[in-house]
Symmetry: C2
């Protein structure tokens, strides 16, 4: 990957497909999508007369043209207030261009409702336009099979195999057939139509036969089971196109917000494992149903699913007790990839479909990390690359074409808003960007969907801390600056101190949205965990491989990684001090890795090969961990020399 986020370009991010486009002023979003071969449902072809192409601008609406007459006709005032536009009408104002170029991406973020989507699949992470070549594990054939005669009484299945070989569709006789398909075969062969369609899994087993000639009803679904969110990508395996994207909150959150509380739930409740497995399977079935409805695809024609998730999600999905992941030495039940039948897991796709679960690396570095590596190709980079996947868990990968190491840091879920007084997920009403005026400590902010603020999400928290540092509201050790306590934005009661980000008269709750001293500590611990984790893996690589290894570029993965301001993540010392144009926001790379494995089975081999290359570093048990973690708690770090570019820190008090 070699992604240049030059400041001379304006980026338009489409979600949830995590597609970033470069936009030219006066070109409609619809056209920009079309130019990138992303077709969306529109009856009028972009003329503004059907009103179908509704999208929601979540960020940067101020840089767009005003709603057109066509939009005023098809959208209600409330929709307009909430940022809804027609993709064929919305465009960037020419006069916004210079201002936009000064901002780091994403400058404009647009929500593309999933039912609009009928798009060609391209890789999020690539500016080279690299496509994954199709080499799916499921193939569909339409063949004509002659009826048997007394002189040629070859049994049904053997006649089918013979025809497949004759047509060069398979090259040997060693093909099995699933029992359910075998039961269907005789009557399908004897229908009046001679052509039938066969579905072959892994060049080994015929798993479906149908009475038609339609080989293009050949679908797979790639699913990323996040601790918090589950996303499914319904993909046609013959053309590689995404037919639908569908997502849900992981219903396991009801049993515990992070993996440790879920493990504890399984431990403490006799039926806990079943409950958690049932919850995730039900969620997957609901995602599958939604995706199928959107794309008008029969779930029975989904013949494969590829699954990524962290090790605990992996175990719970497969119904394996994850308790040992939570206990030293934190080993999973299995590392390699697994292939089971859909019916064994009660997934409501074709019962004979293959469920391919990507391999995990260790107890706290799961199949999602394998997905990130596959999608971002860290293992093929020339330059040593740091990738961090910022989700409910924090995974760190450092590598290039020579070395590859991973570890997990107890980043907690502070950056997802947990354990933060006014923290929240990135949903409507979340403050996602913050600016503080150092002179009067006045705060300006934006919120998701432009709703009244009700809390602060991760990118807002990082902005807040960075801005509070710049305004000297907090010291490098994270303590509030007592000299400013008389500012109206401070609430000080005994030892309890808060800094108000949004005053109660501005908020949706009628309460201040503020950050407390404890909140700052949580964020310090989270960012300290990432940085010290990175340091420990680097120490390991240097001692084991080359002394002079140096990180040259950074990939920020995860939906969250896409939305934080890079310079602020660096400013608070969460990531090393590299130029902004060496820091890439690569989106949901874990889910992308699952898509790659679905579209091209060679990626599965690659994943297994990676297991031999990857070195796992158990960060928290390393001798130097306490010292590294303590030093990294400082903003940006106790050792300022690690962040030479941040000269402003010379003015910020250490304590």
């Amino acid at each position: 990957m070699n992604m240049k986020n030059s400041n001379n370009k304006v980026f338009l991010d489409f979600e949830p497909i995590s597609r970033r486009l470069i936009i030219t002023p006066l070109k409609s979003f619809y056209q920009a999508l079309l130019d990138s071969n992303i077709q969306i449902n529109s009856l009028c072809g972009g003329k503004g007369t059907c009103g179908k192409c509704k999208v929601q601008v979540q960020k940067g609406i101020e840089y767009l043209n005003d709603p057109t007459n066509s939009e005023k006709k098809f959208l209600t005032q409330e929709e307009l207030n909430n940022g809804w536009r027609l993709a064929c009408q919305a465009e960037v104002k020419k006069e916004s261009l210079e201002e936009l170029k000064k901002l780091p991406p994403p400058q404009i973020r647009v929500y593309l409702p999933e039912d609009l989507l009928l798009e060609d699949f391209k890789i999020l992470t690539s500016s080279k336009g690299r496509k994954v070549s199709l080499n799916p594990n499921v193939r569909k054939f339409s063949i004509e099979i002659e009826a048997p005669t007394l002189d040629d009484p070859i049994p049904d299945f053997e006649r089918t195999i013979k025809e497949l070989i004759k047509s060069n569709l398979i090259n040997n006789e060693n093909i099995n057939i699933s029992l359910t398909t075998l039961r269907k075969l005789p009557s399908i062969l004897r229908n009046k139509k001679k052509r039938i369609t066969l579905t072959l899994l892994d060049d080994k087993e015929i798993i479906d036969c149908e009475l038609n000639e339609e080989i293009n009803n050949n679908f797979g679904i790639a699913i990323d089971i996040g601790t918090t969110t589950i996303v499914g990508y319904l993909i046609n395996l013959n053309d590689g196109k995404i037919y639908a994207v569908s997502s849900l909150l992981n219903p396991q959150t009801a049993f515990g917000e992070d993996v440790i509380t879920r493990i504890t739930y399984v431990k403490d409740n006799e039926n806990g494992l079943n409950q958690l497995q049932d919850a995730v399977i039900r969620a997957l079935n609901s995602i599958i149903m939604k995706a199928c409805n959107k794309a008008r695809v029969s779930a029975n024609q989904i013949y494969e699913a590829t699954i990524v998730g962290n090790s605990v999600m992996h175990h719970l999905f497969l119904g394996i007790n994850p308790i040992n992941i939570g206990l030293s030495p934190y080993v999973p039940a299995i590392q390699r990839n697994t292939n089971f039948k859909a019916k064994e897991l009660n997934l409501k796709i074709n019962p004979e479909a293959n469920i391919h679960v990507l391999p995990v690396i260790a107890g706290f570095v799961g199949a999602d990390t394998i997905g990130v590596i596959l999608a971002s190709e860290i293992h093929e980079q020339d330059e040593l690359t740091l990738a961090i996947d910022i989700g409910t868990n924090g995974e760190i990968i450092i590598g290039n074409s020579n070395v590859l190491a991973t570890g997990s840091c107890a980043a907690g879920s502070a950056l997802e808003g947990s354990h933060i007084k006014n923290g929240m997920r990135a949903a409507g009403g979340a403050i996602d960007t913050i600016k503080i005026n150092p002179d009067d400590l006045s705060v300006s902010y934006t919120t998701i969907k432009n709703k009244k603020p009700i809390g602060i999400c991760g990118s807002g928290l990082i902005d807040a801390v960075a801005e509070m540092l710049r305004a000297k509201i907090i010291s490098r050790s994270g303590s509030f600056n007592k000299a400013l306590f008389d500012n109206e934005r401070f609430i000080v009661k005994d030892k309890h101190v808060e800094f108000i980000i949004a005053k109660k008269d501005e908020t949706g709750t009628g309460q201040h949205v503020s950050l407390t001293q404890e909140d700052i500590r949580e964020i310090q611990m989270a960012k300290g965990a990432f940085y010290s984790g990175m340091r420990i893996i680097m120490n390991y690589l240097k001692s084991k491989h080359e002394k002079d290894l140096e990180i040259k570029q950074i990939f920020l993965a995860g939906a969250f990684g896409n939305y934080i301001k890079k310079e602020n993540a660096k400013f608070i010392g969460m990531i090393p001090d590299l130029p902004d144009d060496k820091i890439y926001q690569i989106g949901n790379a874990a889910g992308l890795g699952a898509q790659y494995c679905l579209m091209n089975k060679n990626y599965r081999k690659k994943a297994m090969t990676l297991l031999n290359k990857i070195e796992y570093v158990e960060i928290a048990t390393k001798q130097e961990f306490q010292k590294e973690f303590a030093e990294a708690m400082y903003f940006p770090h106790m050792k300022l020399e690690y962040f030479p570019s941040l000269s402003i820190y010379k003015e910020i008090p250490r304590r």
Copy 2:
């Protein structure tokens, strides 16, 4: 096979294990079994003090010693009347020896109740004492697996694989694990005992893990699904011993006695296929349960089943509609062997167990025929061999190490007693041997279990017809001899004629047991079908291969094949005119083939290789069939020159 049934030996047949022993006078049955390494349950070790070794003499009890005091103590008078003896007390009287030697085998037949059986497995068909070498598809290992540590945090499954490789139990890492086993593995590995037992299927998949060191609880079951009877052999896969034999009437008989009526049932009843499949699966589960109870084996430790049956039984067992087998060109849905999981077929053994169904040859030559070939090794004989499997269907095999052809003849089930006025299965009260005095037409007979006669079974029917021919009661064309109608044994009413075998005052029903003209026709058709079928296959082989091919030996397979008098089968022209010592009764060879495949997986490959060698001859559609069949309806055949040894026929009128 090279089985010499010399008339100088006395044979003792044990059923249902189909084991034939050569017996010496004054040696107890118990001792004879022990000498052949067949252990039976006995507490006193053959001293006659425990009364456990009860067996039932079904044939030839008149040649044995009188019941001893010990037997009078342990057996009721009714039991003694019904032929029950203690195996440790019963022996052949010395004075019977010369008389016995004059009779063809089986001279003495003994029922060995299945709960007595705990026997070493030996091959029924071999006088060379050849054993099948053990090479089962399921292996059990007991291994010790070290706990993981922080320095060696290998996941559970990978640690297990590593240990198996280190211990040279497997030679590569490409082993899968079933989902249910994977779910059990972590907790079993963490129990205090370090040793665990793993079950490996086909060197590919771990299908069980247990917390013990017992590798010998490794069982398989070979099942012969006959149209009428189902037999299961529970075999230990580590020592090859049969632990239990269990059998049941095929409950599908309730839906139709032969395969054609069952196909019709499926055709005419919407739910017919399910009903018939459920019936056979329930029967198998009942056989499995009985066998497990007898042998005190946990059904969960049965890891494989091998199945034989004709093509219709094969389809119904797998839940495949057999309708096309009944329609020209009579092709089955699949020919090759199949492997499905027990759970897919609802068989109540280990859910992950493999169900291996042997391949079928054609619509009317099924997996049972493959079993017969494997067990009798026709394909390895030097001499051209005719094998006929006389069950509800008649299969014909002709072959040697060069050629191999099969066909099926519509023998009907006359020889099983169907369509015969007083026909019945070989059960208690069935007349099984018949002699007719040519001077006064008086009849002597024996019955199974020495009960009052209630009908005639197959061997009795063959005896009856042969004896009626010898006594000139019927002509070579099968018509009753009107000159004898005034004999008291004839009942003549208008055109209806019967010949009384057992008079009503002798029978258990109070009615005559007799044979009608129509009964004679049924038997003519059955025997004519076998002989003409054999002729047609021979014609085929001669035209296709060598002109001067000649049948040199005959194998009679099937339980029934074991009980008919060879010379009478030949006398009525059911089988070619070969010396008695070239005619071998090989018992349930189909079931034996299933046992071979269970004990040694190489036999499965052999079966698949056979498919390439076997030529299938569609007998009934051959041009010459009508002529051959019409000629073969005569006793022994229209062309007497085919039976040169039967000079007596010169005296029997043709019509």
